[in-house]
Amino acid sequence: MSAPSGNDTTTNTTTLLPESVSDLIGSGQEGGVSQQFSAWLSRVRQGEMGALPAVAGFIVLSILFSFLSPYFLTERNFANFLTQAAELVMLGMALVFVILLGEIDLSAGVTGGLAMCIWVVLTDVTKLNWFLALLIAFAVGLAVGSFIGFFVARIGIPSFVVTLGLFLGFQGLELIVIGAGGNFQVQTPAIVALMNNNLPVWGGWLMLAVFVALSLATSFWDRSRRTAANVPNGPVAMVLIKAGALLVLGGLAVFLLSQDRSASIIAIRGVPIVVPIVLAVLWIGTFVLDRTKFGRYIYAVGGNAEAARRSGVNVVLIRFLVFVICSFLAVGSGLFTAARVGSVDATAGKDIVLSGVAAAVVGGVSLFGGRGRLVHAAVGALVIAVITNGLGLLNLPSGLNNVIAGAVLVLAATIDALSRLRSGGSLFRR
């Protein structure tokens, strides 16, 4: 009897192939720019549109608001918009991790709020060093995420119920931490600066350069790996076109933000500090989801948890970790809110979570799990934030304002759904 060769059961590729096969099956990388483009177009027609409808919705809404208010298309409002949207973009990205598993975290908003209550009390009342307090606040996020993760992944309680319980409980905890009727001012200049100060003008350009360089670097790294494996590479022009588009659009944004947008004599210019932070989280998160085992397993578990389990994926661990990540990033979102509002009260984070989920869904992330990317949630968040931003310029009574916000949300989702429908994607809609 001949035993198979030792311990290399999982390290070596099979030697089963009769001979090395030379004509590979395609991989979608073949052909020139025009072929790549038409392939993309037909994928889009097939319904794989990602954030495209949300981008369209964003543009439509922007045009609408710029007709309705002369203030909408100003550098100043652009900068305001970015800081206003930051907390929702952050929360939307946090939620994508759990939504990709078909789960939900209703407590994400109040987790951020609670962490900030703790932070503000530690700094303002117990006079702890603000940075140490911030570490504690993020640790609270990790603890909350672990708690949810444990109950959902190990015990098997539906995440809706666990996080609803925390949603209720944390509102109570916030009240206990802050005290009845209380609120505390955010007095740490570094935190206030997050949302209220800007990079120097050169900093904005540097930021752009870094992101363009990153984009080029990853693309060329991929190409080198493909070349090494001797599989076809897409046209190099595609890489340059992408980087070029990033450069032009990003350049326009940085340029606009480099203008003085102050109404007074003291100049205000530069990219708000929060922007590079959000972009960095977006980039890192996308990197993890696209290029690491952990990210791949999130999609696998979201698509078919049983198949993933049978493939050896530690489903419980993955489920646990997404909640930890979500709560951690949610604290970041809470921090942005606290910095922008300048104070923390006992209701912090109560209202934002449904908007966060809506951001993800509007952006094209499937609530059933397995489909969606961080950038989708980011674009979805911009859509929702632009509704608030634009309506805020129109001076409507409160009731009407709500009605219109709701209607526009449904409208934006309709654009999304209709474009998917027309393209025959209906089959794969659950």
Binding site: M1, S5, T14, T15, L24, I25, S27, R291
Partner: protein, 252 residues
């Protein structure tokens, strides 16, 4: 007599009131192909899922290379070098072919994926299985035909070298040429020393590739016989319960 790499004894499994496996024995030998046959609902897939750690047995002993092992999770099985093609395929519809084939065993460079290498390997294995209609290895598995899906599942199982390969009705959805290739593959695996267990309802195929035939009837193993020592009609008889096996050799 060969030494079995896998040896099951007294395996029992129930789902509530339904006793699916009632004290089953099974052996698989390195370098040999063991066919597991039986009527629909006899408990073949249940037996296999226990070996894969997917649905642990209620009772019974599993010996691997002579040592008793506990298989309570799919990772236990893959750690031992057991690869399984499930009857229900168990693929992630939202992932593409390469991603499915390498799920749980991705090729890495510096902690991130080596997509090029994985693409090449997927492509090569699929080609070797006579796949001609798949346009791209980056196609989502959701859009594949029944046979294409099955081929992906098989390719996945033979991608890495395993000690035991278990195939649950691997050719059910395959075309003539592809079936041929898979049977070839099974024989090639065995010739490399791998223990292969194959479940099939196609007795012609079974007689073509198997060294041993084990017959499961209503949750009990009614026959375990070298292919050479039995006939098509006997096996059909065991399967349908119309014949009983009386071992003539030394094996009980």
């Amino acid at each position: 007599m060969d030494t079995p790499i896998i040896e099951l004894t007294g395996v029992i499994k129930s789902f509530g009131p339904v006793n699916v496996l009632r004290g089953v024995e099974l052996r698989a030998y390195p370098g040999k192909v063991t066919a597991l046959v039986g009527d629909n609902g006899a408990g073949k897939s249940t037996l296999i899922k226990g070996l894969a750690g997917v649905q642990p047995y209620d009772e019974g002993e599993v010996r691997f290379e002579g040592r008793p092992v506990s298989l309570t999770h799919p990772r236990d099985a893959s750690a031992l070098g057991i690869e399984v093609v499930y009857q229900d395929l168990a693929l992630c519809d939202n992932l593409d072919i390469v991603q499915n084939m390498f799920l749980g065993r991705e090729e890495l460079v510096a902690g991130t994926f080596d997509e090029g290498r994985m693409e090449r390997q997927s492509s090569e294995v699929l080609r070797s299985l006579n796949v001609r209609t798949v346009k791209s290895v980056r196609q989502k598995v959701a859009s594949l035909s029944g046979g294409q899906r099955q081929t992906v599942a098989i390719a996945r199982a033979v991608l890495k070298k395993a000690k035991v390969v278990i195939l649950d009705e691997p050719t059910a959805a395959l075309g003539v040429a592809q079936t041929e290739q898979v049977l070839n593959l099974v024989q090639r695996l065995a010739s490399q020393g791998v223990a292969v267990v194959i479940i099939s309802h196609n007795l012609a195929d079974v007689f073509k590739v198997a060294d041993y035939i084990s017959v499961l009837y209503l949750g009990t193993m009614v026959a375990e016989v070298p292919t050479a020592e039995t006939t098509y009609d006997d096996v059909v008889g065991y399967i349908t319960g119309s014949k009983t096996y009386n071992p003539t050799g030394a094996r009980a």
